[in-house]
Amino acid sequence: MRLKSKHRAGALIPTASMADIAFLLIVFFMVTISFEKDKTQVTLPSTELRFEIPKEVATISITRHGQIRVTKGEAMSTPAQMEDVLGFASDLALQYPGRAVVLKADSDVPYEKVDKVLDSLKQARVELIYLLSDAEKVADDGP
């Protein structure tokens, strides 16, 4: 028995495993996270009814000034013109058949622009569209 080597062992809290636990948590978050592919700032319309949107979706965003950004859901969104949307939607339908499209349009955008985007999506035979929305504001003191 070699007990005489150290006469005073300092009180230690074992912190070595802390990093392991933390990294496990990081891995969990990294696997579950889905980064927002489109970071456009828009004031979304608010709805009472809101359904969960699947993770793998294409996104088309329209700002209040009519600027459009599109992404198929793999890379970050890129700016596009209204005329490009039909091409984008057709490509999408070919590349990822059945993938839903999220329309992230500003609540104040003139309907005309949304109409053109919807028309392109219809022509490209996209089957499912999600209208991205915010939760309804409680007790709006309107008229």
Binding site: A19, L25, I33, F35, T47, E48, R50, D108, K116, L132
Partner: protein
């Protein structure tokens, strides 16, 4: 110079590792919760080969004016009145098409408001065979999804685009 200490254990300082890891965790948690991932779903007609033939007389037409006024079958209405107007029509014919026609310069938000209202309306068949149109809450819908119960049929909403209107309507 005290260089003559016999053998010191080589140690890698790992105590800061946990700090770095927790910082990363916080970063991932913050970015994960900010993504908006909810909205209204809206199924488009599956086959474009058969154009959506909507008979104007048979359907309910909801027009949205640029100032946010709703005109339902040529009568101005508030959002809350639409259900009362649709109720008898839907009970007579649950498949009655409701057409949304926002004016080009009206706001997108108004269309979403009406669409949201219409999505709350369901038509169910009662035990005595009669049909009833009623409004559901989002809590009821969530509950029905979990328990896989049937709340009834959705309203048949169509939002024709300007091109379709030009091509098929007039």
């Amino acid at each position: 110079m005290k260089l003559n200490r016999p053998s010191q254990d080589a140690e890698i300082p790992t105590s800061t590792m946990a700090d770095i890891a927790f910082l990363l965790i916080i970063y991932f948690m913050v970015t994960a919760t900010f993504a908006a991932t909810r909205g209204l779903d809206f199924a488009l007609p599956k086959d474009d080969d058969s154009p959506p033939i909507v008979e104007k007389e048979d359907s309910v037409l909801i027009e949205i004016q640029p100032d946010g006024q709703y005109v339902v079958d040529a009568k101005a209405m508030r959002l809350e009145e639409i259900f009362d107007y649709l109720k008898p029509k839907l009970e007579a014919n649950p498949k009655k098409p409701v057409i949304l026609r926002p004016q080009p310069n009206s706001n997108y938000g108004y269309m979403v408001d009406v669409f949201d209202t219409l999505r709350h309306i369901k038509v169910r068949t009662l035990d005595n065979g009669a049909r009833e149109a009623y409004q559901v809450t989002s809590a009821q819908i969530r509950e029905a999804e979990e328990q896989e119960t049937d709340l009834g049929k959705d309203v048949n909403v169509s939002i024709p685009t300007q091109r379709e209107i030009d091509a098929f309507w007039f």
